[in-house]
């Protein structure tokens, strides 16, 4: 059962970026879709055999596909790995590389030329690594190679092998002596042990957990935009000058979880996180243009689904852009929130404000959204729905005897979103029972953004 989610998100991500095989698939009969899903499950988890079980192999936490549609990259959380899969013409996936990063990646993107993966991690660092590792990557890169490949925020070569040589004679304060004593108690040097041996260049870093990452181009210049749990949106120059910070978009008062630059409106950035509002920025100048209410729409969606549910702070899990046709002047911004059974559709106006257009209610909590856009026209939106937990709830299970579609397809027209058929995708068959213990882990996997929220009244250090 748990596997459902993973395969779905795999499907969705690919549909979003539109490899031809998947595009065709969207309009195909549901039995074929099912076959595809099975193929992937088998590739994804060869060793699992028939008894599919999401928890035996690391769970995929985020995915991306290359522009040329030949590759899919997936991040598995438990082993901090970036995995690259080749997409075969029949849509099946074959893993061709697995690289364990120094810290768990939170967001990954592929550069426009498909050459490089950019990964933002839990400790705030952003790395660039080639889409596929060099054949001879078994050796550790030498210091010269490091500088040749142009670490974008150059680290001193000697820094890697830094060993403190302080001793009692070079230390003059109680404070430092204590630090040295601590150091002596430490027997090994984990940094060297865990340093990856494959090519990876540090581009930039925050001292905070990174939550989202965008690459964009404006006036012919490339930028990297990063968002963190401490309310910062940072604008850095693109490669190879990523050490230069051009500016910040500051004003959020809670964590930021998602960023979106609408295609064709690339001066605008929409951001959301743990706040009651969405923010709209002129990101290059760092100027806040407007805010759009989210909380009231979430509240009414929540009330519609379960009248007894109280008001809760929204936790934005996705911000997406769609446009019904190239001619249509309206840009739609579609927002999902954790443990909320609805999508919130806004129009991005010419005045650069977001106007709430519609709320689309769903049979279960929205998990992930994919939009199929061809030549600037968005045709279909597919959203995966949590069939295990009750609408509005992250932990409480729903009655499993009542059927619930795991995917809902919506068509995108100049009027907004309208439901096509919840049955376009048949629910993936449940293969093998998942134990209670494993099911209990699901909420953490599906709803982890809420954890970014800072706890009030965290203890003060003495």
């Amino acid at each position: 059962m748990g596997n459902l989610q993973i395969s779905e998100s795999a499907e969705l991500e690919e549909a979003a970026n539109g490899p031809p095989a998947k595009k065709r698939k969207l309009s195909k009969a549901s039995d074929e879709v099912e076959a595809q899903v099975d193929t992937k499950e088998n590739t994804n988890a060869k060793k699992r055999g028939k008894q599919l079980n999401v928890f035996e192999s690391p769970a995929v936490i985020t995915m991306e596909s290359s522009k040329a549609e030949g590759h899919v990259i997936a991040v598995t959380g438990e082993d901090k790995s970036i995995r690259v899969f080749e997409v075969a013409s029949n849509g099946s996936l074959k893993q061709v590389s697995q690289r364990a990063m120094p810290k768990r990646p939170c967001a990954v993107v592929i550069t426009d030329d498909d050459s490089t993966i950019i990964s933002a991690d839990k400790f705030g660092d952003v790395y660039a690594l080639p889409l596929l590792p060099e054949e001879t990557s078994a050796e550790a890169p030498s210091a010269e190679e490091d500088s040749k490949t142009g670490s974008q925020t150059p680290e001193p070569a000697a820094g890697r092998f830094f060993k403190p040589a302080a001793n009692e004679f070079t230390i003059h304060s109680v404070r430092n002596r204590k630090a040295l004593e601590n150091q002596k108690r430490q027997t090994n040097w984990p940094k060297e042990k865990t340093d990856p041996t494959f090519e990876h260049n540090l581009l930039l870093g925050h001292v905070s957990m990174l939550t989202d990452l965008l690459l964009t181009t404006r006036n012919g210049r490339k930028y990297i935009i990063t968002a963190d749990r401490d309310e910062h949106i940072r604008i850095s120059r693109g490669m190879p000058q990523t050490h230069i910070i051009e500016g910040f978009c500051l004003g959020h008062t809670e964590f930021i979880s998602r960023l979106c630059i609408p295609a064709g409106r690339d001066d605008i950035l929409v951001s959301g996180g743990g706040e009651d509002e969405l923010y709209i920025w002129d990101w290059l100048s760092g100027k806040l243009l407007s805010k759009a209410a989210l909380r009231n729409h979430v509240d009414s969606a929540v009330r519609d689904a379960s009248p007894e549910a109280g008001s809760k702070k929204p936790t934005v899990s996705g911000i997406y852009h769609a446009k019904a046709s190239v001619q249509d002047s309206r840009d739609l911004i579609i927002v999902s929130c954790e443990a909320v059974p609805a999508l919130f559709v806004y129009c991005l106006t010419a005045q650069k404000t977001l106007e709430h257009h519609q709320t689309v209610s769903l049979p279960g909590n929205a998990l992930s959204v994919a939009i199929n856009t061809v030549g600037g026209a968005s045709q279909m939106l597919v959203v995966s729905v949590d069939c295990i937990h009750k609408p509005n709830f992250a932990k409480e299970r729903r009655d499993q005897t009542v059927p619930c579609p795991s995917l809902v397809a919506l068509s995108i027209t100049d009027k907004g979103l309208s439901e096509v058929s919840p049955l376009l995708f048949a629910a993936v068959k449940d293969e093998g029972a998942v134990s209670e213990k494993e099911l209990a882990k699901l909420p953490n996997l599906l709803y982890n953004i809420e954890n970014f929220r800072k706890r009030e009244g965290a203890p003060e250090e003495e």
Partner: protein, 292 residues
């Protein structure tokens, strides 16, 4: 258990009885001691502005607040403003914030007990200096120290240009300063964090240097000093490797009046002096950004 509670009680007692407004008596350090290390990665209960524009600097530099035409009778600033109670600016909107006549231009990062600030303030009377310290008690001590010094020198404007606030600079520097705002940053006797695992806690790193480059204007200087040779080498390597900085040559370094102050006036520097330890100094100039 009685120990710490007792200590806290004494501390509160001292603060409420002896630290009255307008006191000229310098604060006693023993009531402001705090465990040596604060974790720069944890959330704490920090107060910080959501952006530099949202920062209400008035209470920190009351003598530099812009006078509005309707302010016919300006009051004695140092007596009316209590930094410790007006710190939270969250209730003020950006338009309610009284602007300063000039921006802060010098930051002492990890200022400790404020020796450098207090020594530099009279030497740079036309510049606003800010000490930033993560340990709450220590930052309060510096605030009290500056208040007492201002009260000791009424009418002179002395020490009006120095202030201290509690901040975790590793996370929130851009919340306080705009791009190119600072002309000088001091990093005096930073915590060495010897363990390799803890290197990310160092105040100088590859990625943090980009933030220093962001807030320091081209031509501005980052000053470093330490008694730990390894840390000195670490800082030199990381700043030299960073394309936004270049090392200031020694003759220029020694001609800089701030360098002498930095060597002798910080609390850590004095300890090293007493122990006849070495002091390693290095200065780095912020270069112009390359075209792109």
């Amino acid at each position: 258990m009685a120990g710490p509670a007792n200590k806290r009680q004494k501390r509160e007692e001292y603060k409420s009885t002896s630290r009255t407004d307008g006191t000229t008596e310098l604060p006693k350090k023993k009531f402001y001691r705090q465990r040596a290390h604060a974790n720069p990665f944890s959330d704490h209960q920090l107060t910080y502005p959501s952006s530099p524009d949202a920062m209400n600097w008035g209470p920190y530099y009351p003598a530099f607040v812009q006078q509005l035409p309707e302010d016919n009778a300006p009051t004695e600033p140092s007596e009316t403003v209590d930094v410790s109670t007006t710190k939270d600016d969250s209730t003020l909107t950006t338009n309610q914030i009284r602007k300063l006549t000039q921006d802060v231009e010098v930051a002492d990062i990890g200022c400790g007990f404020g020796g450098l600030l207090v020594a530099l303030a009279p030497k740079l009377p036309n510049t606003l200096l800010l000490g930033m310290e993560i340990r709450m008690q220590v930052s309060e001590y510096v605030q009290e120290r500056i208040k007492a010094l201002r009260a000791q020198n009424p009418g002179t404007g002395l020490y009006q240009n120095a202030a201290c606030l509690r901040a975790n600079t590793m996370k929130f520097l851009p919340n306080f300063f705009k791009k190119d705002q600072l002309s000088k940053i001091f990093l005096c006797f930073p915590d060495p964090h010897f363990k390799a695992r803890k290197h990310k806690a160092r105040i100088v790193s590859t990625t943090l240097n980009s933030e220093y480059a962001y807030v320091v204007r081209p031509g501005g200087i980052v000053y470093t000093i330490t008694d730990v040779e390894d840390l000195h080498n670490w800082m030199v390597q990381h700043f030299e490797a960073h394309p936004s900085f270049e090392r200031v040559p020694e003759d220029e370094q020694e001609a800089d009046e701030c360098v002498q102050v930095m060597r002798t006036e910080t609390e850590e520097g004095k300890k090293v002096e007493r122990n006849k330890g070495p002091k390693y100094v290095a200065l780095f100039r912020r270069k112009e950004d390359p075209p792109w």
